[in-house]
Symmetry: C2
Subunit: 205 residues, 2 copies
DNA sequence: CGATAAGCTGACGGCATGACAGGACATGTA
DNA sequence: TACATGTCCTGTCATGCCGTCAGCTTATCG
């Protein structure tokens, strides 16, 4: 229930909010700044969103929609031999790239989810699920054939932990760098850990 | 440069801020609320801290000091056989317990660090370092003896990724649970992943 | 008890929030 | 072009928090 012009204004507000989240601390993002940046007034903002949080939620839903493509990083891939190593590499690259691209919104989603907001928990769950679910199925398949990282280990817990690791590492490269993990070292390490976690074996040379 | 009474007031403000961080969204924590809860006035708060962020930074430094004890989870442990499995278990338990106990402050530290605030990056780096540094040395030792998860893999990157994983998992149990990873399944999975990452082998039965 | 300093607060200008009513604009009709 | 209509935007206002100052209260010491 909004005309063409209204949609455009609304979208412009969302875009500007997204940019502000990349440049200023979440705590300091003010409705008045978003409105000014969009060339409109605070009153207009409140016409479309009850508060900043609601607009952030909408941005998060856009990111959620885009996350669907992450499933392709896992679906129908081989985990044996050199192909297995490549699968792990591409998975790491793909997840890292996605998380870095949506850096700003994802850290706010993370915060709100950690604070217990169920709407954001749900969104984060579904974003991670785009990778975790197919990955868990892959692990199940490997375990059924007697392979995999461990007999009685839950595939969902393994997949979830690995994806969580990738997301967290991409969200905080600086701390790891200060601890001696160079940017260049990180991807091989993550690739190894993912391959180990999924297959129980070190990746092929 | 503060007397006995001043110190007490200051500490009371910090305590109340800590409690508020556990109960309300960080974005909504107001100076006036903290002051009221501490039975004092906003003006008093500003006498001790330039703003909320500065007070949070101080809370983070307390957590940093406590994190020193985390090193004991790694120092002088064995990673072979059943003892190795136990080492991994206790490491997982210890890190998870620490992160859960300091849940509220750590999620704010994480946010501020992700937003690029160097003071918070530094604190997070040092907290993680309490585990990452000794763990990286352990991995180095194992690699020197021809063991470990992979030849050319950076020990710092491995240790950093593993610890980051533990921290991130403990910060967001709900999403993983919704994805089918029961609370009970999580620790074994993490233990396996840590053991695999450090030694390159599955933990002993 | 009186003096000095430390600690606390009431009060104020400034700014953001969130709601409303009325003005501005695009679109369709003649 | 003139006009009618519904959508969209904004000026304005009450409210509440921020951050600061002058001045008051409380502790400490001679």
């Amino acid at each position: 229930m909004a005309g063409r012009r209204g949609q455009a204004t609304r979208q412009k507000l969302l875009d500007c909010l997204g940019k502000m989240l990349s440049t200023s601390p979440y705590r300091d993002v003010r409705v008045i700044d978003v409105a000014r940046k969009a060339g409109t007034s605070p009153a207009t903002f409140y016409q479309y969103f009850p508060d900043v949080e609601a607009a952030v939620l909408e941005l998060a839903e856009v990111t959620l929609r885009e996350s669907a493509s992450l499933s392709e990083l896992v679906a129908g891939r081989s985990w044996t031999g050199k192909a297995g190593r490549q699968t792990a590499e591409e998975l790491v690259d793909g997840v890292l790239a996605f998380w870095r691209r949506h850096d700003a919104i994802l850290r706010v989603v993370d915060l709100a989810a950690s604070e217990g907001d169920r709407r954001f928990v749900r969104i984060r769950t579904r974003i991670q699920g785009a990778v975790v679910k197919p990955l868990a199925e892959t692990i199940d398949g490997l375990q059924a054939r007697g392979r995999g990282s461990g007999g009685g280990i839950s595939s969902a817990a393994l997949a979830g932990s690995l994806v969580t690791m990738l997301a967290a590492v991409s969200a905080q490269p600086k701390s790891l760098q200060s601890l001696g993990a160079k940017q260049t070292d990180l991807k091989p390490a993550l690739t190894t850990l993912v391959h180990l976690g999924v297959t129980g074996r070190k990746p092929a040379a």
